[in-house]
Point group: C2
Amino acid sequence: MSVDGGPTPAAGRSSAVGSPTAGSSTAGGRPSGVDGRPPAADGGAEDLARYLRGQATDFLRALRRHRESGVEDASAPAMALRRTARRISGTLHTFRPLLDATWSDELRTELAWLSGTLAREHACTERLDRLLNALQRLAGSTAPVPAQASASPTGQLTVGAAKAGALLDRQLTLARTRAHSTALQALGSSRFHAVADNVAVLASDVPLRRDAAAHRLAPFAADVEARLADAVQTLPLVRAGHPYNAEALMHGLSAETAPETQDAPWHQARLLLRLHRYAQEALGIRDFDPRLLTASRALDRHRDAAEAAAAASSAARTPRIAPATAYALGVLHADQRHEVEAARFAFKGAWQRSGSSSAVSLP
Amino acid sequence: MSVDGGPTPAAGRSSAVGSPTAGSSTAGGRPSGVDGRPPAADGGAEDLARYLRGQATDFLRALRRHRESGVEDASAPAMALRRTARRISGTLHTFRPLLDATWSDELRTELAWLSGTLAREHACTERLDRLLNALQRLAGSTAPVPAQASASPTGQLTVGAAKAGALLDRQLTLARTRAHSTALQALGSSRFHAVADNVAVLASDVPLRRDAAAHRLAPFAADVEARLADAVQTLPLVRAGHPYNAEALMHGLSAETAPETQDAPWHQARLLLRLHRYAQEALGIRDFDPRLLTASRALDRHRDAAEAAAAASSAARTPRIAPATAYALGVLHADQRHEVEAARFAFKGAWQRSGSSSAVSLP
């Protein structure tokens, strides 16, 4: 289907979208990739529609597999649902001026709700794994992670570390169980059925605007790239490149919520790097710069470690815990904040190797 | 004065000392410095005697200043006493075969007791400073360190951090007061008067062996250098050169005394690097490689951070502390262990820049 009305400016980036050759384009008007290579494809609206149809089809297939799967093997289809939901949502955002704005904004909101809901259970599982592994590492043990730190022999762990592990196990298992129930409820809700119906529309007939065919995709992708470059420019990369700068633990004992404040720009860069990758995919570029993939993984690790550190300090606020347990949680918190710092160091290296630091940014 | 009998082999290094041109010498028989430069001087027993007389004179002068000083300004003379005691002791050790062995071994033992006793008060002061500064840093505060964390406003510190600071302040101030009393008692003891008498002998007439004049100093200095190179070779430098390797926190939550075990070889390298510096001084080399000084300072920082981390974990074992206090001490412990790791990283860089890693070591 096709929708009336000309392209509307992308939210907050009107200049770039209003003049499609703006952004990080070269003198010849062709945007250069964030990795310095020209895009392999300079597609148009039809390529966008094809990409969205493909992702929507994958979403529906994952949904079918999820419904057919038992409770035990639902995690792969759930991951595929999250994966496609993120891609559809990101693509609707990047190429918004080519699409029916009202329709795609609404679907984006709903896909964000869905992927957020589905991600929570997985995140709890990963976080618990990360924290129990860290406790084992801190104890210098090579033994496997105990499923129930309180119930099984804990090798070299001190009493405090064992109790900390058991406490985290209880808290994160409870959170995971809740997230699981919430996800099941969400997948059975009428709200979800409406999302699935809209994705089914996308799988057959992408709601492009009538004049979408007059536009190329590359300038919109270049706009995302420029926003990414802008976001990375605000990061304290010089400091991050200096090993053991102790930045990530700053405010670790402050009453303020300073860690969240200092982490936020890195989380923002992570989301923009993901958006950039999806935009490249929509352009038909399959070989995303592996150095940017490394940078992306570093920011994932940054997020995971930051959330694990927060879980450790949150567990330490549990009433009536033993001082030895609190001590172990303090060590664990600091350890994960150093992982945060290590991830920033790794990101800085990968980003600079990718040459993205020299990308032209929008004024 | 001169003592009968030929040079005896240095303990544990008989081959090198028995054949003075062995060790890290070049083909021409002249030892090369650990920094790759030939020593500026290739002195003999008279140079050794002159160096020892100089240090002994400085020791006696510092002792006089210490006795004349009030309680408040005794720290500079005390530092000078430690400084000269360490140099005399190290020199007696390195050039033992040129000296009356019984006499110098006994003096060495007594100087080690003295400098150890005098160092303790200073170490407590430094450790408390380091820990309170770290707490401020962890709180993200730029305010000056509170002398009494419990009694003064603590800015951004959480209750746990403030209580941890107050606890450390109490414990380390008590330890410092005890160390101060012990040092005062030591300086008034007959044991100390015997040390001072022996240093006075050294200031006028170094007890060289009768055949000492037949030997050069350089091979003995080269022997120290080779022992240093051997000690550094046992360090996990490859791992230390990889930032954020998380090695120093390994076993941080173990019931074993693993931190001490993993730190010991680094402490050993620190002592040998100091011994090497004193040997170079005795040879008349004033411009000790600044990169080795940097390496030396990194190992000092390694020792300080390791001891501060131990003080934090020891404070966490105080009975009846609040969980929030224990948590802050856990964060502080991990922070200082990361300082340990950062110091190893810094040492590795300085050592390799100095070119010492390619120094020939004894078989």
